[in-house]
Each structure stands twice: as structure tokens, then as C-alpha cells.
């Protein structure tokens, strides 16, 4: 009897134990979306959102913001002219991409969370935007073809907004733009009543994954702290003074 029990235990351990999950950290596919955020009729974001997907996480970032960063580095390099002296590299808002997506979304599969990261002033701050769960989507019976893919409709709710997504099981990636995640196939098209919309533009699978996802270090804070920091930064921008993180007083208030 002991022998049977031992076999059972070993068998059980073997069958349930994951020595190492299939969590390769190399990028296996890159997906591009036309990503927009329109609020009260005004376009806040109109950019190409790039979603890099690896085995352990995914990284959603805006091409416009990436191009701005590259441009900035090149302008500074040119202004320094190879010397140690950095001359002014004057920039105006017109030098930067219009309506770029400044934030990034990191979805960590192991920790089951989607973190939104953005520079607030000089600080790179992130907060948990959503958990990664598949249970919140409701898949309907509606189907249609989008760009040659057979797509199904799914809906969910977040806060007060309704999110409608079309996904395809032909691409077995439970991923999508922004923090959207958890459908049994890649999201091809999505719209939310809060003004977010995205459409698939391109997908490139990586046949021999080599590159890892590279993200900048950030500080994880709560959503409340993040929004407070953003409000402080906006107030500091108006007053022209740097805030120490506390609520800044506007000139009209201080006079």
C-alpha cells in the first residue's frame, strides 16, 4: 500500500510541478495599433501604439513618444558638436509629435497586473491600472471579418465605461492594446465609451526571439498618488515653479 501511495505522490508531483514555466523573456511578436483617445470631441492621443509581446510580459508604448525621445537625443548630440560643452538645443512644442501617447503599459503575467507608467516631471511613476484576468470579458455571438480575420465580439466594463473588443482566435495571443488583456485571441479592434479606440495595423512575429523588452526604471505608487503627482506637475507648469510634490499654489491663489 505504501508503494502505491508513493507512486501516486511522485506521479502527482511530477504532473503538477512546474520546474520552470514557459516564461521566455524574449520578444516573440510585435503588434502595432492605431491608438486614439478622444475626449469631449478633442483628440488627446492619435499615435501608433506598439505592443511588444514576450513570454513573461508585454510592453505597450507610443511611437510618437519614442520618436520624440530619439529626436531629442540627436538634437542634444548635435548641439554639443562632439565637445563636452552643451549649447542650447532650443525646442518648442511644435518640434514634438502632436498627440503622442506618452504613457506606457507593462503587463506582468507572473504578477497578473498591468502597470501604467509615465514621466511626471522628471520622475517615472507607475501605478496598477488593472489586474490581468480573463473572467471579466463577456463573449457574444456576433462575429465579423476584419482585415481577413474571423473576429468575435466581447464586452466588458471598467469603472463607468463599456469596452467593446473584436478579437480573433486565429492569433492565439490573449493580448491587446492599452491595458486590455485576457481574451482567447488577439484584439483586432477595440472601442470604449470613455473615448479610447484602437485598430490593428500590423503584426510581426519574431521567428528567432533574441531581444528582451527594455523598460526604464520607475517607481510604483498608488493610483491616487500618481494622479496627485500629475496634478502637481500641471500646477507647477502653470506657475513656472517646481513643486516639492505637495499641492502647488497658483499665482492667483497666492496673491
Amino acid at each position: 500500500m505504501f508503494r502505491s501511495f508513493a507512486i501516486l505522490i511522485v506521479f502527482g508531483l511530477l504532473s503538477i510541478m512546474s520546474v520552470k514555466a514557459q516564461t521566455s523573456d524574449k520578444i516573440v511578436a510585435t503588434v502595432e495599433y492605431q491608438f486614439k483617445y478622444i475626449k469631449n470631441g478633442e483628440t488627446i492621443i492619435d499615435d501608433i501604439g506598439i505592443l511588444d509581446i514576450a513570454g513573461d510580459k508585454s510592453y505597450f508604448h507610443g511611437k510618437g513618444a519614442d520618436d520624440d525621445k530619439k529626436m531629442l537625443n540627436e538634437r542634444i548630440a548635435r548641439a554639443s558638436n562632439g565637445s563636452n560643452h552643451i549649447t542650447l538645443a532650443p525646442l518648442s512644442s511644435k518640434d514634438f509629435a502632436q498627440n503622442a501617447c506618452e504613457f506606457k503599459i507593462i503587463k506582468d503575467y507572473a504578477k497578473r497586473m498591468a502597470v501604467m507608467v509615465q514621466y511626471i516631471g522628471r520622475q517615472n511613476l507607475g501605478f496598477v491600472k488593472d489586474t490581468l484576468s480573463s473572467r471579466k470579458w463577456v463573449i457574444g455571438k456576433e462575429t465579423k471579418k476584419i482585415d481577413g480575420f474571423f473576429c468575435r465580439k466581447a464586452t466588458t466594463r471598467k469603472d463607468t465605461s463599456t469596452i467593446t473588443a473584436w478579437f480573433t482566435t486565429e492569433i492565439p495571443l490573449p493580448e491587446g492594446p492599452y491595458y486590455y488583456y485576457g481574451l482567447p485571441g488577439l484584439i483586432v479592434q477595440v472601442r470604449s465609451t470613455a473615448g479610447i479606440s484602437a485598430e490593428l495595423l500590423r503584426m510581426r512575429p519574431v521567428n528567432k526571439p533574441r531581444e528582451k523588452i527594455k523598460t526604464e526604471p520607475f517607481a510604483l505608487v498608488t493610483a491616487t498618488q500618481w494622479y496627485k503627482a500629475a496634478a502637481n506637475e500641471a500646477a507647477a507648469f502653470k506657475t513656472g515653479q517646481f513643486s516639492n510634490g505637495d499641492e502647488a499654489k497658483l499665482k492667483s491663489e497666492s496673491q
Partner: protein
């Protein structure tokens, strides 16, 4: 899709659940028994359509699903890198599975491309035009698409301009295969193989000079589609038609690998298509001396100027071209380029020219009927070795040019036959080296050039018997001119960058020797006799100079600019049989350029400069440069001083697709000689005489283009004004001439519907000449010239298209008849998708216009010309791409 039963291991015995309920759990593992996270687990209805439940495995590969159904179900497990598994489940099942996934090749679609909604993207450094957004299904060559891009225009010779400035480089995948002969690429690269046309504004092509030497010219870089980079691509066509056994055949092979690029073409046609622009250098080579001019007289067969219409309408040709261009990547930064082109052509034309020369006391009228043949062969070759890195630029080019040209013209009235032989040989080697160390840059240039051009103009029967043969007739005239030139120019410059400034100094020397011999012979009874000592000469000219240029460039905020001071000490010596001349001249010329960038969209530039040129064309003998022009220049060595002011304002907004530029130009030229024209019947004698002379030119132009993404239409409009004030001596009378040109042009290019493409352009010019001779005005009525063209293409189905264009030309002059010409062309085409073949039939000059008439005048000379046109024609053509 592979469906197979899998081996199932049981952990716990199944437990019964509620009727028609499905409750399944399990683990997804690989064949190595490793848990698979993020796998899709979907429970389908038995028709594999409806999703009953789904989930995603956790970090340990576990999943759990519940659903309610009466029927059997399908459990599908899928994840990248593994084969999809589908398990058939019965109803009322409650089980725990371990699903073992077999590895598989990542079978995602390679690329999904949705048409980019923004046809123009980019930033300040690169503007990217999506070829797909701007092309229609009739476009075959990339030049067809480039012509439609906002902010870009293409001249008739194939020169590409961005914001009204010629581009300085045409790259393909970052490589400069063709240097300045880029028309070979733009005319032969299939547009279907191009992904983007990138414009690089303010492009400095030499990496070692980036940040040091500013450039205000853009470059173009062609980005190919991925599948076009790894194979030989190309296009070709075979055409035959009526009348005159018309033919139009060509084939082009292209390849653009990382270390090897080539473009090889073979073309032949007799349908009026001129292949010469394909091997034309679009930019003037650098390093040549601009401020010294010594004349070997150029002989010519006098013909009317070409009419300002599409050349193929009056070009009776037989043109053949073979060209090969190869770029070999010797190492990462070192390229070897080889190019060779052999071209020949035989062009015939017929024209009538009526010329009126208005003099104060007389009007000279000439009527000439020309029947001309121009036959030439030319061989152009070059070998270039180039290394272009951030700290070192090295380039050596050896270029050779050899041509043999024969021009004949049978003048019906006055009856005479002209024949001109003009072989030309030129060999030039240019070496350039730039070494950058820290904040300083050293630039070395060396150029050696040799050319020879013997010319012979024969005219029969003999003309101007009174002047040349004492009133007795004779058989003919033969003018021979031979020129040989050897020159070398070498300089070294040093550039130092300091914070916002850079200082440069350039020192060098130049030596040029040329020998010109000319003799005019009367031909009588087979003998060649010189009419007199005034008709022959041999001149040896030696020119040498040392020069020093100092420059200061600055950059601060939105400002940048430069101040340059050019100085040279020049020694000129002429040895002529009548008079020896020599002169020493010290020249100092300043120049200032300032550029201010107002914002990311607008920049403006102001340039002020003075330049001095040395004219050394003296030749006291008479040279018959064409059948009725005798030229003599007894002028000593002279200087021409140019004062120039140029202002340019540029606007570009790639987000809104708006490009505009405004240019002002003022040039004042001062010298001490005038050409005195003396008319005696049809004979014109030109003598250079000492006379203080000042000319002025003023020009203004405003151009703008706007691309509307919604209606896929590009609007382009431009207005130009030029004013020239000059003096001329005719019959010893001094004329003050003011020549003004007003012009406006518009162009609309639209593909508002996928099935229609429309191009409309119109150009209206008004030419005003005012000539004042002693208070009496000659020729005041302006000439108005109008051109309108409408081109329409209809894409009826995916593989059928028809198209046509209608063109109107009109010239008006108040006291003369109005000239109007209409042309229409039509084609009908079927396209086969696989293989890519176009079958077309086209008709040109449907209205069968016989001649094209136009007016023209310069100073006080008014001309009416009529050119014989190619008749109505029909062409059957097969185009193919691979």
C-alpha cells in the same frame, strides 16, 4: 489543423456534477513536462462556432472551466510555439486533464499591413511618403509616384526638387549608387517594389561634416519593400506600332543587397522618347573653378530653339542606350562604384523660322526652312571609390567622356547645306579627403582635367561672296576650331569648431592651360584657301592662381550663418600671333549667409555675396560660329563683378501636407565690354567692344502645395516674376532693354476615388520686352503663352484601365495671328496579375496636328517658328515586371 487524441493522465476520479454541466480543470504542459503559462483554453460548442467558456492558464499552467450545455463540446488549447490541441468532450463531463503540447514553428502570419492612415509621416529630420498612399494602379516606375508627392517637383530632364531646391543626393536603401545620374533609378525602379520615399531635409551627405557644414538642400532615400531586397527586380517592355515601324523596347535589371547594388538597362526607341536625361548629371560637380572663363568658340548649326512642348511630339529619333551601374560594398564603410553608358541617336527635324530684327532705321527679315539631322554617339564611364564614416571621408572618382556628334542642316532658303563635326573627349579625376579629429576637420581636394574638342563646320555653297571673295562665287566655307585644355585645381582646408562658432580656412592653387586654333577656309575647286589673316589664329592661354578663403560660421539658438572672404591672386597670359597679353589681378569677394528658423515649420535665409569672374575670351580673328554669324573679340582680359542678394522663406508642415516657399533674387553685374551686333543682310558680325556695362536681374517666386488626405488630392500653385535690364549695341546704336516675364502655374493631382486619377495643370506666361533706342520704342506688345493639360485615368476593374490626356498650347501677340495647338493621346490597358504584365494599345496625336507654331523674342529680335510634328501614331506594347 491537426486533431489527435492525446494521452490523458488521471489525478483524481471524476466526480459527477449537475446534469448537462461541464466542469473541467487541468494543466497544460510541454513534452518536457514544463508548465505552460498564458495558454488559451477555450470551450466551444460542438459546431466549433460558439464560445461557451474560456480562460488562460496561470503561471503554473493550470486552468479551470465551467459551462452548461446539453451537447458534446470541444476543448481547444492554443499558444504560440506549440501545435493547437482540440479535444472532443461529451456532455456532463467533469474531468481533470493534463494536456501535453507539442512544439511547433511559430505559425503566425508574417506581416499584416493595414494601409497607413497617414500618407505623410515623419519629423524634422525625415519626411516619409507612403508610396501606396500616393500611387494608383497605373503607376509603374517610382518617378510616376515621386511627381505626385507634395512639396516635390520634377523637371523635364528628371531633376528632382524639394521645396523648389534641387536635391543633392538620391539614395536607395541608404546607398548612393548613381551619384548625380539618378534618373536611371527613378525611371527604372518599379514603384511596386518601393515602400516609402523619404526626404531628408537640409541633408549633409558627408558624415564628417555633419554639424559643421550646413546644407540647405534635401536628399531622397528610397526604402524598398522587404521582398524586393533579396532578389533581382526589374521591368521591361516591348512595343511596336504604326506608322514608320515604330518601336519602343527596354529592359532594366536591378538588385539592392546590402553589399551589392546594380542597375543595368538596355533601351531602344524611335517614338520620340529622349533617353539622354537618364545619363545626365543632375548636379554640377563640385571642385571646378567657377570664376574663370576662357573661350574655345563653340560652333553650331543654326536651328530654331526647341518648341516648349513635349519633346516626343517633334523628336524624330532612333535612340539606343546601354547603361550599367554597380555598387560593391568592399567593407562596411567602403564602396566601389562603376558605371558605364553607351548611347547613340539620330534625330531629324524640320522647321520654319521667320526672324524680324527691329532696328531704328530698318527691319531685317529672315526666313529659314531647316531640314536637320543630328547624329551622335557617346560613351560615359566612371569609377568611384568612397569611404564615408563619422571621422573620415575619402573619395576618388575617375570619369571619362567621349562623344562624336554630327549635325547637318539643309537650309532651303537661303539655300545652303551646313555640316558640323564635333568630337569631344574629356577625362577628369577628383580626389577628396576629409579627416575629422576632435573639434577640427581637414579637407583636401584635388582635380585634374584634360579635354580636347576639334570642330569642323562646312557650309556649301559659299556665302557672303562680297565680304569674303571679292564678289565672286565659290564652292563653300569650312570653319575649323580646335581646343585642348589641361587644368588642375588643388586645395586644403582646415575647420575648427568652437562652441557656437567654427572657423575655416582654405588654401589652394589652380593652373589651366588651353590652346585654341581656328581657321576659316574658302573652298574653291577642291582647294582650301584662307580669305585673309583676320580669319585664322592660334592662341595659347595660361591661367594660374593661388587662393585663400577664410570663413566663419556661427550657430546660436534659431540662428545660424556664415561669413566668407575669398581672395585670389590671378596671373593670366595669352600668346596670340597678333598681340600678347598678360595681366595680374587680385580679387577679393565677400559673402554672408544668415538663416533664422522661426519655428518647426518656418525658416528663412538671406545671402549676400559678391563674386568676380575673369573673362579671357579674346580672339581678334573672325570665327564663323554658325552659317550667318561671324564672331570677333578684340577685348582684353576683363572682369565681371556679380553682386547678388537672395532671400528664401520656406514653410513645411508634414502633418497637414502643406509646403510653401517664397524666393527673392537680385543680381547686378558690372563689366567693361559690350557685344556690338552689325547686320549686313543675313550676315551678323559680333564684335566685343570696350564699354561700361551694367545689367540687373530681379526675380520673385511664390509656390505652395497642399495635400488633402480625405480627397487624396494635391494642390499646387506658383507665381513667378523676373525682370532683366541689359544693354546691347546693334549697328552701333545702344539699346536699353527691359525684359519682364510674369507667369502663374497650377497643378492638381487627385485620386479621390480608387477608380479615378486626374491630373490638371495650367501655365500662363506673359513676356514683356521694352527696347528703347534713342527714345524710340521697339517691340512693346507682350507675348502671352498658355498651356493647359488634363490627364484622366479610369480603372474600370482590377485589371482594366483606360486613360487619356488633352493638351492645349496657345500663343497670343496683339499684332500677330493667334497660334493654337491641341493634342490628344489615348491608351487602353489590361493588366495580368500573375505574371505582372500590362498589355496596352495607345494612340498619340489623335488630332494629327502637323506643325507647332510659337512666338519668341529676345531684345529686339522677334521670331515665329513652326516645327514639323510626328504624325498620329498607334503603339502596341507589352510591359512586364519581375
Amino acid at each position: 489543423m491537426n486533431v489527435r487524441l492525446i494521452c490523458i493522465l488521471f489525478f483524481f476520479s471524476a466526480t459527477l456534477v449537475a446534469k448537462a454541466q461541464i466542469n473541467i480543470k487541468g494543466t497544460i504542459v510541454s513534452t518536457g513536462n514544463k508548465a505552460i503559462a498564458e495558454a488559451n483554453v477555450i470551450l466551444f460548442s460542438n459546431n466549433h462556432q460558439d464560445i461557451l467558456a474560456y480562460t488562460i492558464t496561470d503561471i503554473e499552467g493550470n486552468f479551470s472551466l465551467k459551462s452548461v450545455t446539453k451537447d458534446s463540446t470541444l476543448l481547444e488549447v492554443s499558444i504560440l510555439g506549440f501545435e493547437k490541441q482540440i479535444i472532443v468532450l461529451g456532455p456532463n463531463i467533469s474531468k481533470t486533464f493534463v494536456v501535453v503540447m507539442k512544439p511547433a514553428i511559430n505559425n503566425l502570419p508574417e506581416v499584416i499591413i493595414k494601409q497607413a492612415p497617414a500618407p505623410i509621416t515623419g519629423n524634422k529630420d525625415t519626411i516619409s511618403y507612403s508610396v501606396k498612399a500616393f500611387s494608383d494602379s497605373s503607376d509603374r516606375r517610382i518617378i510616376d509616384v515621386i511627381k505626385k508627392l507634395p512639396g516635390i517637383s520634377v523637371s523635364e530632364t528628371g531633376q528632382i526638387l524639394f521645396n523648389n531646391r534641387a536635391i543633392n543626393k538620391f539614395y536607395i536603401e541608404g546607398k548612393d549608387l548613381l551619384e548625380d545620374q539618378y534618373a536611371i533609378a527613378s525611371n527604372n525602379l518599379p514603384s511596386a517594389d518601393v515602400d516609402q520615399v523619404q526626404v531628408l531635409p537640409d541633408h549633409q551627405p558627408i558624415k564628417a561634416l555633419k554639424g559643421s557644414i550646413y546644407s540647405n538642400r534635401a536628399a531622397i532615400n528610397i526604402k524598398l519593400r522587404k521582398d524586393a531586397k533579396s532578389r533581382i527586380i526589374g521591368m521591361g517592355s516591348v512595343g511596336a506600332g504604326l506608322p514608320l515601324n515604330a518601336r519602343n523596347d527596354e529592359v532594366a535589371l536591378l538588385q539592392f543587397n546590402k553589399d551589392l547594388q546594380f542597375i543595368n538597362t538596355i533601351k531602344t526607341n524611335n517614338t520620340g522618347k529622349n533617353l539622354d536625361p537618364e545619363i545626365l548629371e543632375q548636379n554640377k560637380p563640385s571642385g571646378l573653378s567657377d570664376n574663370y572663363s576662357a573661350g574655345t568658340p563653340q560652333l553650331s548649326v543654326l536651328k530654331p530653339d526647341f518648341p516648349q512642348i513635349d519633346q516626343s511630339r517633334f523628336w524624330f529619333n532612333n535612340n539606343n542606350l546601354i547603361a550599367s551601374n554597380i555598387l560593391i560594398g568592399v567593407s562596411k564603410n567602403l564602396d566601389l562604384k562603376l558605371n558605364i553608358a553607351l548611347e547613340n541617336d539620330r534625330i531629324s527635324s524640320r522647321s520654319l523660322v521667320q526672324t524680324a530684327i527691329y532696328l531704328p532705321a530698318d527691319t531685317i527679315n529672315l526666313t529659314e526652312h531647316h531640314s536637320s539631322i543630328n547624329a551622335y554617339s557617346k560613351l560615359i564611364s566612371g569609377i568611384v571609390l568612397e569611404q564615408n564614416t563619422d571621422n573620415l571621408y575619402l573619395r576618388n572618382s575617375l570619369n571619362g567622356y567621349a562623344s562624336r556628334e554630327t549635325n547637318t542642316d539643309d537650309l532651303l532658303a537661303p539655300a545652303s547645306d551646313q555640316q558640323l563635326l564635333q568630337p569631344l573627349f574629356n577625362l577628369v579625376n577628383r580626389l577628396k579627403a576629409i579627416i575629422k579629429t576632435g573639434n577640427s576637420t581637414v579637407d583636401i581636394n584635388s582635380m585634374v582635367n584634360y579635354s580636347t574638342q576639334p570642330q569642323s563646320l562646312t557650309i556649301k555653297p559659299g556665302l557672303f561672296a562680297d565680304t569674303l571673295n571679292g564678289g565672286y562665287s565659290y564652292d563653300g566655307l569650312s570653319q575649323k576650331v580646335s581646343g585642348k585644355t589641361f587644368s588642375t585645381e588643388n586645395d586644403i582646408s582646415w575647420l575648427l569648431r568652437l562652441r557656437n562658432f567654427s572657423i575655416s580656412t582654405l588654401s589652394g592653387f589652380e593652373v589651366k592651360n588651353d590652346r585654341t586654333s581656328n581657321a576659316l577656309f574658302k573652298i574653291k575647286n577642291g582647294m582650301y584657301l584662307i580669305p585673309g589673316a583676320d580669319f585664322t589664329d592660334t592662341i595659347n592661354r595660361r591661367f594660374s592662381r593661388v587662393f585663400e578663403n577664410v570663413g566663419l560660421a556661427f550657430e546660436s539658438g534659431n540662428w545660424n550663418g556664415s561669413i566668407d572672404l575669398k581672395s585670389s591672386y590671378n596671373y593670366i597670359e595669352n600668346t596670340e600671333k597678333r598681340v600678347d597679353q598678360n595681366d595680374r589681378l587680385l580679387l577679393i569677394d565677400p559673402a554672408l549667409t544668415v538663416r533664422y528658423t522661426i519655428n518647426a515649420y518656418v525658416e528663412n535665409t538671406l545671402s549676400l555675396s559678391r563674386s568676380t569672374s575673369i573673362i579671357n575670351n579674346g580672339n581678334s580673328s573672325y570665327v564663323l560660329v554658325d552659317y550667318r554669324d561671324l564672331l570677333s573679340n578684340q577685348q582684353t582680359i576683363d572682369q565681371i563683378k556679380n553682386y547678388a542678394a537672395v532671400y528664401a522663406l520656406n514653410y513645411r508642415n508634414i502633418v497637414r501636407g502643406i509646403f510653401a516657399n517664397f524666393d527673392l533674387l537680385y543680381v547686378s553685374t558690372a563689366n567693361n565690354f559690350l557685344v556690338d551686333y552689325l547686320y549686313a543682310g543675313i550676315l551678323t558680325t559680333r564684335n566685343f567692344v570696350a564699354f561700361p556695362n551694367r545689367t540687373e536681374s530681379f526675380g520673385a517666386s511664390l509656390n505652395g502645395s497642399k495635400y488633402d488626405d480625405v480627397i487624396r488630392t494635391n494642390f499646387n500653385i506658383g507665381v513667378n516674376y523676373t525682370l532683366n535690364r541689359l544693354n546691347e549695341l546693334q549697328q552701333n546704336n545702344l539699346y536699353h532693354i527691359i525684359a519682364e516675364v510674369y507667369s502663374v502655374h497650377t497643378r492638381i493631382t487627385s485620386s479621390f476615388s480608387p477608380n479615378i486619377s486626374v491630373i490638371y495643370n495650367t501655365s500662363l506666361s506673359a513676356f514683356y520686352n521694352s527696347n528703347d533706342a534713342g527714345g524710340k520704342k521697339l517691340i512693346e506688345n507682350p507675348i502671352l503663352s498658355l498651356k493647359q493639360n488634363l490627364s484622366l485615368k479610369l480603372f474600370l476593374q482590377p485589371c482594366w484601365s483606360i486613360g487619356g490626356n488633352v493638351t492645349q498650347y496657345a500663343d497670343f501677340q496683339r499684332s500677330m495671328s493667334k497660334f493654337e495647338s491641341y493634342f490628344a493621346d489615348f491608351y487602353f490597358q489590361k493588366t495580368l496579375a500573375k505574371p505582372k504584365i500590362d498589355l496596352s494599345v495607345g494612340a498619340d496625336n489623335i488630332f494629327d496636328a502637323k506643325t507647332f507654331k510659337s512666338y519668341g523674342y529676345t531684345a529686339n529680335i522677334f521670331t515665329m517658328s513652326a516645327y514639323t510634328l510626328r504624325p498620329r501614331s498607334l503603339m502596341f506594347k507589352v510591359n512586364f515586371q519581375f
